[in-house]
């Protein structure tokens, strides 16, 4: 007879002293871990609930402006510095860590229409209603000096927007036409027009740095190449586009914030159909900005809310609003991709977390592991109805909520009418046009 009994030495399973860590032997045999899937499901459910519990995105409100905030700009080198321009011609520079205004300039008479920083962060440019372009030093004047711009360019028409080249000492303004300026000169290198209408915004492509996009009030989006004297092509939409923003990761993708409550993501190589229509706002979209990862963007709307959209989804993943926030005019995603700033009509700049339930500050490795694990679980079970319902739920102000209901009814009615029209006309005579194609009026080259 040969016999062996299971006989464990307790010393190898119990810690020696109280100062030691407890010993935890592991065995990953599935029979020792029954109900793997149901338990993971419950964990995912708990993680989803906790995410909603901890979703407190609002961080700070920077007050000080004496009129509505009309434009915002990020500092290219310092994460904590933000520039803002107001409707009374005042420009303020803020320190986000202290949440204080560190400098104040009366830059223009009337609105500050646009503000942009130089790529090396030493100076910034403003344009205003007083038909001037001004360059300012980022650092304040030394003791005894007066606050004065480095350069001032007097133009013939009102400038409505400005953007700086990402690598060269060149900037572009828009107004009656798109002007490209050298920093050293007082007259534009070239001016480009296509039609006669006021252009509301111009943006340089951050990757293909010679490309420019602009949008005008005659409902079109025009693309330019700086190296040519004439514009490249334009797309005409149903309604006016307020701003565009280029994707910082994919050179040919840009998103347009439209008056018809939607945002359109275009591939500039094929402008005849938008890649994606992002709809959730219930009023005109005024501004849009991409996250540095290029996977999400944030949009500001006249409906007093900002929304975060994934680039490849047509519905927003997040909506931020407060009782006091009025029409949001401008929005920016910070360069560390963690925060969002928005400037609104009621003179405040608000700072939000980009990920509403994220824990700020340094995480311990165990916290990090736990959040990663929970994130994976949420992803795995995201389509289960109970979890989906919880993770999608957002509280909305009554005005937005009722508007959404109303617009849903309107959309349904339009769809029904179209169906009826097809049903009661000769087969083939009425073509069904896809929702994406419907919005694009024409592409002109």
């Amino acid at each position: 007879m040969k016999v062996k009994m299971l006989s464990r030495n307790p010393d190898s399973y119990v810690r020696e002293t109280k100062l030691d860590l407890q010993r935890v032997p592991r065995n990953y045999d599935p029979t020792l871990h029954p109900f793997e899937v149901p338990r993971e499901y419950v964990r995912a459910l708990n993680a989803t609930k906790l995410e909603r519990v901890f979703a407190k995105p609002f961080l700070a409100s920077l007050d000080g402006h004496r009129d509505g905030v009309s434009c915002l700009a990020k500092h290219p080198k310092s994460l904590a510095t933000v520039l803002s321009g107001a409707c009374d011609g005042e420009v303020r520079i803020w320190n986000l860590t202290k949440r204080k205004c560190i400098r104040m300039i009366q830059a223009h008479e009337g609105f500050v229409r646009g503000i942009c920083t130089h790529f090396c962060g030493t100076s910034f440019f403003t344009v205003g209603d007083d038909k001037t372009v001004k360059q300012w030093k980022m650092d304040g004047p030394s003791y005894g000096e007066e606050e004065e711009p480095l350069h001032t360019i007097l133009g013939k028409t009102v400038y409505t927007g400005i953007d700086h080249h990402w690598k060269e000492a060149v900037f572009a303004t828009c107004g009656q036409q798109v002007d490209i300026w050298d920093e050293q000169r007082t007259s534009p290198i070239c001016s480009m027009t296509w039609g006669f209408d006021s252009i509301s915004s111009v943006k340089f492509n951050p990757i293909e740095t010679f490309l420019l996009g602009s949008c005008a009030s005659d409902r079109n989006i025009v693309l330019y190449d700086m190296r040519q004297a004439t514009p490249l092509k334009k797309v005409i939409l149903d309604m006016r586009t307020n701003t565009i923003c280029w994707n910082p990761m994919e050179a040919f993708i840009f998103t347009a914030a439209n008056e018809d409550y939607n945002l359109y993501t275009f591939d500039m190589r094929a402008l005849d159909t938008p890649v994606m229509i992002h709809m959730d706002h219930v009023s005109a979209v005024l501004d849009v900005d991409y996250s540095p990862t290029g996977k999400d963007f944030v949009s500001a709307s006249f409906d007093k809310s900002i929304r975060i959209f994934p680039v490849d989804k047509s519905r927003s993943r997040e909506v931020y609003h407060t009782k006091r926030m009025q029409h949001v005019i401008c929005v920016k995603w910070t360069s560390d991709s963690k925060y969002i700033m928005c400037g609104s009509d009621e003179m405040n700049i608000r700072l939000w977390k980009a990920n509403a339930s994220e824990k700020l500050g340094v995480l311990t490795s165990r916290e990090k592991a736990a959040t990663d694990y929970n994130q994976r679980l949420k992803e795995k079970f995201q389509h289960h109805p109970h979890i989906k319902r919880i993770s999608r739920h957002r509280h909305l102000p009554k005005s937005i909520y009722s508007q959404i209901q109303e617009q849903r009814i309107m959309k349904e009615a339009r769809r029904r009418k179209e169906l009826n029209r097809i049903k009661h006309s000769k087969p083939g005579s009425v073509q069904r046009v896809s929702e994406k194609k419907k919005r694009v009026v024409a592409v002109v080259k």
Binding site: K4, P25, P30, T31, V37, P38, V42, K380, L419
Partner: protein, 611 residues
Amino acid sequence: METVPKLGNNVPPKKDKLQGKKKKPRRYWEEETTQTAAGASPGPPRKRKRNRELRPQKPKNTHSTKKSRISKKPQVPKKPRERRSPGPQRSLSGAQDPFTGPAPVPVEVVQKFCRIDKSKKLPRSETKIRSRLEAAEAQEEEISVKAARSELLLAEEPGFLEGEDGEDTAKIRQADIVEAVDVASAAKHFDLNLRQFGPYRLNYSRTGRHLAFGGRRGHVAALDWVTKKLMCEINVMEAVRDIRFLHSEALLAVAQNRWLHIYDNQGIELHCIRRCDRITQLEFLPFHFLLATASETGFLTYLDVSVGKIVAALNARAGRLNIMTQNPYNAVIHLGHSNGTVSLWSPAMKEPLAKILCHRGGVRAVAVDSTGTHMATSGLDHQLKIFDLRGTFQPLSARTLPQGAGHLAFSQRGLLAAGTGDVVNIWAGQGKASPPSLEQPYLTHRLLGHVHGLQFCPFEDVLGVGHSGGITSMLVPGAAEPNFDGLESNPYRSRKQRQEWEVKALLEKVPAELICLDPRALAEVDVISLEQEEKERLERLGYNPDTKPPFQPKPKQKGRSSTASLVKRKRKVMDEEHRDKVRQSLEQQPQKQEKAKPMGARPSALDRFVR
């Protein structure tokens, strides 16, 4: 209560004479002999043999190193880095690493950790989703290889019992085993001589550290059976039908004559649950925190012990219920009935999930193994049967016992114990997942009284038997899982660890509605509701947005685009599609005709009307 450890020297000398050629017991490490054991225990030693094979042997010539490292090609998706070095690598000191690359992983171990059933076909889906699913599958495979490799780190080996050539292990008595094993293991064999309070039911806690037992005449006690420290001992002055630990050893449910009572480990009555009356059997589902009770009135009641609510009370409509067991794999309750059927219950359904006709007479005992694949039943027809629980519910093997088994229990490694009268028989199988073979018992033991309760102790090679003479703790080498998981059920856990575990277990309490036959169903693609949703969507839209629009030829760029050529091209494509359709239908047709005509039937005049 007195403890009578059985010692080897009080063996009657008569038996020695009967077994003339009986050899002196020997410890397994004392001498390595060739394994020619005919009467060897079928279960545990096999694994050892396999383990030995797997141990990487040092190659004689260095060129064959690479091949011997991998036991089979497809099992390891990621090939070990062979290209990097032609032979074994030399370090600075000049020493060779004889085992380059990752450790080899045997296929069957990888199979154990595989969670994805590749035979199942995925429904038609977009390429994006399909590629994501494929990526997930590949990841899953990699994980299972890693998990299998981590088995090398397990510290303990399972126990075993082998006879010499020709020796039957069933003839080996407990006294011999006690004599042969070490002192710590010998102390695990004990008898509690408790004749006064009648046949006993017993229950081990989930960690295997604590034992609770209750006698028919009201004696209830709980103890840490390893250290033999008594936690509480009371007499409830009422018949005790069954006793069960709740999620931890601190709570104890006792089915008494009228009502269900819950005691703590001091013996203080915490609750008297009057909604559960005249309970005959108790089962605790640890991951759902449900206490399932079967009553004389024919009701199966689920009590949620974390909130104290009754989740479901199901009328089994089969008279008095006194045979119940749980399937530890999917938490389904198996009830045995007097008409020979076993019914499977979940709290989510008012009707049984399945009914299996097992015996000609009534069912006497049911047990389900830890992998949830096999069910053992015994009936009044003196049969002991083993059923496959994976879908078909077919009997795998059966045998007639002279008296029939009144109590059955499975161990963690798949040993089956049956109590018949005052004898306990134990059968072993080929391993954890295989059914026990019923021809030769692995061990037998005769007790002082009739068996009334049986349970294998988790994580210890011990079988606890409650009988009319008290409690016996039997040694069954190779019964238990040798390596426990510290986060799941740790026999050596401290108070803090238990508290931590309790909080976590309560946080991930599985809802009772999720109990069903396949616990993995939640992670699979729900094809039925997907199709339903698709149908509703089509109805709502009024057209199918995914259908291909009819082919519209593009006008040619350079002046060759006449209307005639456009129509021609359009027709060409249409004809091609039509031809494809005809070809497909032709391929299907002959099969249909063959099916329709029965072989050898006479042609009838009415055949012409058959389509």
